[in-house]
Structures are given as structure tokens and as C-alpha cells.
């Protein structure tokens, strides 16, 4: 028997309490080990979708399953271990007074203690190249460093899938490249929410376009980015001077 997909979203629909419908039936799968970009214009429902992946929002209709486990009230703890969500603003993600405590927060909530906790913290920081900042307060780090520590905070939970919300936003070109190298080196499934199309092309074989609350396209990133009409239909465009061919 083959392993269940890292992420399986089927017929997911959601309306906000005020009645605004954000998702209208989203269907897609992410296989284990894949790196997939979720593209879409502002207001397409990307963030709403991401909030469903670890049960912060509960589906109005349809299901989300992570490595075969459906997201639901009873499975939240395990789901949140399996789905590592990296928020857009690292100042929202890093809320503890020191890097060490911040990276330890997740695994400690899972009941990891003592030497195993220390090992996980060091290991996660090592993987993003930030081990030397372990005793520093997060607000003393540069923006790029904070984003990398934010990735470490979820890696320490040993997730099944890493979900990144706009990972390249506000990064200078060098930090952007360094983060790409780190992400490429990780052996986890990645779902990357972005409208930085070159970044998607650089990191992800496959892309989805979420537009108007449904998946409007699903295919190889290169092919999707080469289809100018498709992109234009969904308010996406490559930056000036770029061409995916």
C-alpha cells in the first residue's frame, strides 16, 4: 500500500461569519515530498485556505486530511504537529523572549522535554543555519534571520508538511536566495503560498492557482507561468523582463 498523500483537500467550502463566501469547493492533493506553490491574487482566499489546513478555521463543507488524518475537533493536536504553518510576519510567529524558547515552544506543547527538546531545538536551528542566534531575543535579529528562525520553529515539531505564507515577502535578494537554498535542502513536503512567481518557479515543480475561491489551474509551474492568458485571467503576471520558457 502506498503512503497517503501529505495533504488532501476535497470539496472545501467556507463562508466567514458575516456571510462572505471565501472558498467555493477547493480540491487538490499534495503527495509526500512534493513542493507545491499555491498562487493567486490578493483576496483569492489563499490565507483562508491555509487557516483550514491546521484547523484554525473549520470547514463549512468538505474535508482536509493530513497524511490520511482528517482535520477535526478530536485530531487538532496531532494535525497541528503534522502541519507546520509559517506566518508572513515573523514578528507574529516569534513571540517568546529568546530564540531558544521560541523554537522549543511547539515541541514542548507536544510534551517533548529535557535532552530530546534541546536536541530538536538545536537540530531545527542548524537546518536553517541559525544555531548561533539561539540565546538572542528574536527582535534583535534582522528580518531575514527572523524569517529563518520562524521556519525553524515549525521544523522543530517535525511536521509532515510545511506551509509557508508568502515566504519571500520583504526579504532582500540575498536573504531571499538563502531562504530558497534552505527550503530546497529540507526533506519535507512544502506548500508555498505566494504571488512571487519567479520564486515559485525556482522552488516548486508544481503550482496551483487559487482564484475566486476555487482551484483554477493545477500543473507544472513552468507550463502555468508560460500561459500568459491564464495568468492574466487571475490577476497574476510575471515581473518585467521575465519569461518562463
Amino acid at each position: 500500500m502506498t503512503a497517503p498523500p501529505s495533504l488532501e483537500v476535497s470539496r472545501l467550502a467556507y463562508a466567514y461569519p458575516d456571510g462572505t463566501q471565501a472558498l467555493f469547493g477547493v480540491d487538490f492533493r499534495v503527495e509526500r515530498g512534493e513542493r507545491v506553490a499555491l498562487l493567486g491574487p490578493n483576496g483569492a482566499g489563499k490565507t483562508t485556505l491555509v487557516m483550514h489546513l491546521n484547523g484554525i478555521l473549520t470547514a463549512g463543507h468538505g474535508t482536509v486530511a493530513v497524511a490520511g488524518l482528517p482535520v477535526g475537533k478530536g485530531s487538532l493536536k496531532e494535525i497541528r504537529r503534522r502541519v507546520g504553518l509559517v506566518f508572513q510576519d515573523p514578528d507574529d510567529q516569534l513571540f517568546m523572549p529568546s530564540v531558544r524558547e521560541d523554537v522549543a515552544f511547539g515541541p514542548a506543547n507536544l510534551g517533548v522535554t529535557g535532552e530530546e527538546l534541546e536536541r530538536r531545538v538545536k537540530d531545527a536551528l542548524e537546518r536553517v543555519g541559525m544555531l548561533e542566534t539561539i540565546d538572542r531575543p528574536p527582535h534583535h535579529l534582522s528580518f531575514g534571520q527572523r524569517r529563518r528562525v520562524a521556519v525553524a520553529t515549525v521544523l522543530a515539531m517535525e511536521p509532515e508538511i510545511l506551509v509557508l505564507d508568502e515566504p519571500s515577502s520583504n526579504l532582500d535578494p540575498a536573504s531571499r536566495r538563502e531562504l530558497a537554498e534552505i527550503l530546497r535542502g529540507l526533506d519535507v513536503t512544502v506548500l508555498m503560498v505566494t504571488h512571487d512567481l519567479p520564486y515559485a518557479l525556482e522552488l516548486c515543480e508544481r503550482s496551483l492557482i487559487l482564484s475566486g475561491g476555487v482551484i483554477a489551474a493545477d500543473g507544472p509551474t513552468r507550463k502555468i507561468l508560460a500561459d500568459a492568458d491564464l495568468l492574466a485571467d487571475h490577476r497574476l503576471e510575471l515581473p518585467y523582463g521575465f519569461a518562463a520558457s
Binding site: 497541528r80 507574529d92 506543547n109
Partner: protein, 254 residues
């Protein structure tokens, strides 16, 4: 963005005093303050001995006098208040350098000045030798309600972020030609303060989501082991212990 600055109260070091667990130091400072407050104001020499004890701690912690003096500025409002009492006090009066002063007021002023100064020096020493977050963790070990500790922790973490946000809003105002000159500008400042409050509130919501995403269930996990050995309690107990000995000894004499 804020990089490389330290909390101004803390003075990093690796002395015996720095290494003591925070809960021991907190309890020691509290105990010392209680003894000081319980000392009758007429026992001048007891206060002198208390000062000597604090000086000994400062030497052990390698905290220079200049550092201590600069941080004692927080006491200034109390000093001003204390100095005013002899002038406004009632009852028997003495004349000193042409000024008519109330005797009861002079005693009250001395009482406030001596006790407040000792308390402030002890607190400054605590802050100088203990990282702010460790003070909070120590307070938690001493059974301060965890909710209060969490609130203080977040304040510690987000103070710089909020100040930076405030600075950006000021730059944005001034870039459009606004300079606060007189009272007519208060409404603008007030609206900015309101906007800052809402932004901070929204950040709070996002932080909460981030916490939930990493398995937060209402209580902070214990990450750092802060247990204190009985030897360390003994060391920390030396300050209030010695002060208590002075107090009880004086009682025998008086």
C-alpha cells in the same frame, strides 16, 4: 530595525549574584525590603548597616556605583515628594538656615528617603544581575499567576515592535507636514494612539493564531529548568538574613 541593543537595566556578567536562580533573588529582595520597612526610623545606624549589605552585594556582582546611581533616577519623584513634607508638615517646627521646618515632617521625609532608597538600590541590583525574562520566570516559580507572567512576557517581547510601529506612524505624520506644536494637535495624536491600539490588538490576534498553530492550549510549556538548589537559596538568603539579624540585634539594644 532594532538590533544589538540591550535592556538598559540589565548588566550582563557571570558573577555569583548573576548565576543565582531568579526566584531566589526575587525572594531575597522582597525579604530585604520587608525587613527595611519594619525597621523603626530612629535607628539610623541600622539603615547604615543595610546600606553596607547592599554595597557588599554590588561589589560581589561587580556593579559599579556610577551604574547604580544613574538607574536610581526613578526615585526622583519620591525624593521631591519627601523633600516637600518638612515644609508642608504641621506641629512643632524648627528653624534651619532660615527655613521653618516641621519636626514631624523631617522625620517622615527621612523615613521615606531612607527606606525608598534602600528598596530602589536592591531592585536596581536585581535588575542589573537578572535578565528581564528570567525575573518573570522567577516570579512564576514563586507562584505569581501564570496569566500575569504571560502578559508581562508578551509586553517584554513586543515593546520594541510597538515602539517601532509608533515611530513609523510619527514619520508618516511628519512626512506629510504635521508637527505637534500646541493643544490643537492633540486630536491628531489621539487618533494615532487609537490606530496604534488597533494595530497592536490585531497583532495580538495574529500572535494567538501562531500560538494555536504550534499546539498552545492555554498554558505556556515549561522550557527552561529553573529549579534552585538549597545551597543557592542559602546564598540568596544571606542578604535578608543579615538584614534581619541587624534588625533583631537592634531590638535587643533598644
Amino acid at each position: 530595525m532594532g538590533a544589538g541593543h540591550h535592556h538598559r537595566l540589565h548588566r550582563p556578567g557571570d558573577t555569583l549574584v548573576h548565576r543565582l536562580p531568579p526566584q531566589c533573588k526575587l525572594a531575597a529582595v522582597a525579604g530585604f525590603a520587608l525587613v527595611v520597612v519594619a525597621t523603626p526610623r530612629e535607628w539610623f545606624w541600622a539603615f547604615g548597616l543595610y546600606a553596607v549589605l547592599l554595597a557588599a552585594v554590588a561589589v560581589a556582582a561587580r556593579v559599579p556605583a556610577g551604574f547604580l546611581l544613574r538607574r536610581m533616577v526613578v526615585e526622583v519623584p519620591f525624593v521631591v515628594f519627601a523633600l516637600a513634607i518638612p515644609f508642608i508638615g504641621i506641629g512643632e517646627r524648627v528653624t534651619f538656615m532660615g527655613l521653618s521646618l516641621s519636626v514631624a515632617g523631617l522625620w517622615a521625609a527621612w523615613n521615606i528617603l531612607a527606606k525608598a532608597t534602600l528598596g530602589v538600590v536592591a531592585s536596581v541590583l536585581l535588575a542589573a544581575t537578572t535578565e528581564p525574562r528570567l525575573i518573570l520566570l522567577g516570579a512564576q516559580r514563586l507562584r505569581l499567576p501564570p496569566m500575569l507572567v504571560q502578559i508581562a512576557m508578551f509586553m517584554l517581547r513586543y515593546l520594541d515592535v510597538i515602539l517601532e510601529e509608533m515611530r513609523r506612524m510619527r514619520v508618516a505624520r511628519e512626512s506629510r507636514g504635521f508637527v505637534a506644536r500646541d493643544v490643537r494637535h492633540i486630536p491628531v495624536i489621539a487618533r494615532s494612539a487609537g490606530a496604534l491600539f488597533i494595530r497592536s490588538y490585531e497583532r495580538g490576534e495574529r500572535v494567538h493564531l501562531a500560538m494555536l498553530s504550534r499546539g498552545y492550549t492555554g498554558s505556556m510549556p515549561v522550557i527552561q529548568d529553573l529549579s534552585a538548589a538549597s545551597r543557592q537559596w542559602l546564598v540568596a538568603g544571606m542578604l535578608p538574613g543579615a538584614a534581619l539579624a541587624v534588625l533583631l540585634g537592634s531590638w535587643g539594644v533598644a
